[in-house]
Amino acid sequence: MNNRLGAEKRIVITGVGLTAPNGNNLNEFRKNLLLGKSGVQKFETRYVGEVLAGVCNFNVLKYQKKKELRRGTRAGSIAIYCCQEACNDAEINLESIDRSRIGVYLGVTEHGNVETENEIYNISKYDYDTKFWSHHHNPRTVANNPAGEVTLNMKITGPHYTIGAACAAGNMGVIQGIQMLRLGEVDLALAGGVSESIHTFGIFASFKSEGALAEHDDPTKASRPFDKNRNGIVCAEGGGVYILERLSDAKKRGAKIYGEIVGYATNSDAFDFILPEPGRQAECMRLALKKSGLKPSDINILNTHATATQVGDIQECKAIRDVFGKEKSVWINNTKSFIGHTMGAAGTLELSGNLPAFEDGLVHQTLNLDELDPECHLENIVAGKPKQLGSVDYIMNNSFGMFGINSVLIVKRHAI
């Protein structure tokens, strides 16, 4: 279908900015994915104590002053770092372009929990007297905070907002960016997702109460999607932001093109608060293929959503078997096995780690897949070491979230 679209409707990725628990730019991230290097570590969290988490260590002062850091949020800081890095990567000079034509669309799983917990902890030291509650609380917790901090930092005067979409949010940020570019609302989109979730004790405590928080003596082995001995999610922070442009604009300025987003889809399970529904997930993948004008055998890499929960992994595998059957040309991997679940950032971040496959032909492995759960059987899961395919033309990226929000992106190698 996309080949029938004019260049002014075709959307390409021309910049990547990211921070992951095992890398603070695409090269470092990709290198560590190919080397099998995990980013999961022990992490102390309020009330819950020691947990396992994916923790980022990017230089927070690279693009922000200390005062901005003090006033803002971790999500805002991650967003600023990723957006600035994406602009640098795309060789966009903000001084020379119309910043009212840039849109900032960032997916978040949740926002405000970290800041609210911090304030309650703060006033607990003053006998819960609310006169000690910070005047910074409201600007820190408004839902648009991470995207808003980006506009202040980068002096972007176009539209900004976050897209609340549970763990599908990273992909949803990209989908929003695509739509706004096609509508002509903006000329350049900073689109993706961010997560500061490891700084709220509530997310750990809630997953623990649900029986879905990963435990392992060796932190690097805790995140084990599809493995028989998986025991839950490793929460992580992170961010992944793309520069999205219309192909016509990207060509005009001679931009480096990572790939073209030829298809996307999003739908809803309408089934349960937390349990996934493979029938709707399969529908979502099929819808993305249809929009792309592709058949399942065209996909070379399928980056899965699987979070290493007992039920979730099995359900996604059912959906994949339903769509791809015994198709042997599709190679399947999982990025959460390295970095844990980066929540709102997961979609974009995990897709980012696979984009270099268009150049090097490699599928990064799924870490910690020592004994495949028979219920997670798929034809070609890449485990143990990266798989050399020679050439990669299409990557599909799945991201699903609570309340049965499903999202799928399909990216095509850009033929020069």
Binding site: K65, K66, K67, R70, R71, Y126, K131, F132, S134, H135, H136
Partner: protein, 87 residues
């Protein structure tokens, strides 16, 4: 607290509120906002820190008393006369 100790208490707060600024160069008789980057939210932070550190309530009608270092000291010293500077 002595005058110098009150001044130090204010400097300690400003160092936290305006971490990018060089507070050692502040002239006591000049307006603070003309010397370092402080906006209205920062002033609310100063008020909050006085509340947290010294249990001092600065009513909004007195905010202008915090305009310069000299006026801060003049306003706060009577309120802090029986207090010790935290070590």
């Amino acid at each position: 607290m002595t005058r110098d100790e009150v001044r130090q208490a204010i400097i300690d707060i400003l160092e936290d509120i305006a971490p990018d600024e060089d507070v050692s160069s502040i002239k006591d008789d000049a307006i603070l906002r003309e010397q370092i980057d402080l906006d209205s939210m920062d002033f609310l932070d100063i008020v909050m820190e006085l509340r947290k550190r010294f249990n001092i309530e600065v009513p909004e009608s007195d905010y202008q008393e915090l305009a310069s270092m000299d006026s801060c000291i003049q306003y706060l010293q009577p309120l802090l006369k029986d207090r010790q500077l935290a070590s």
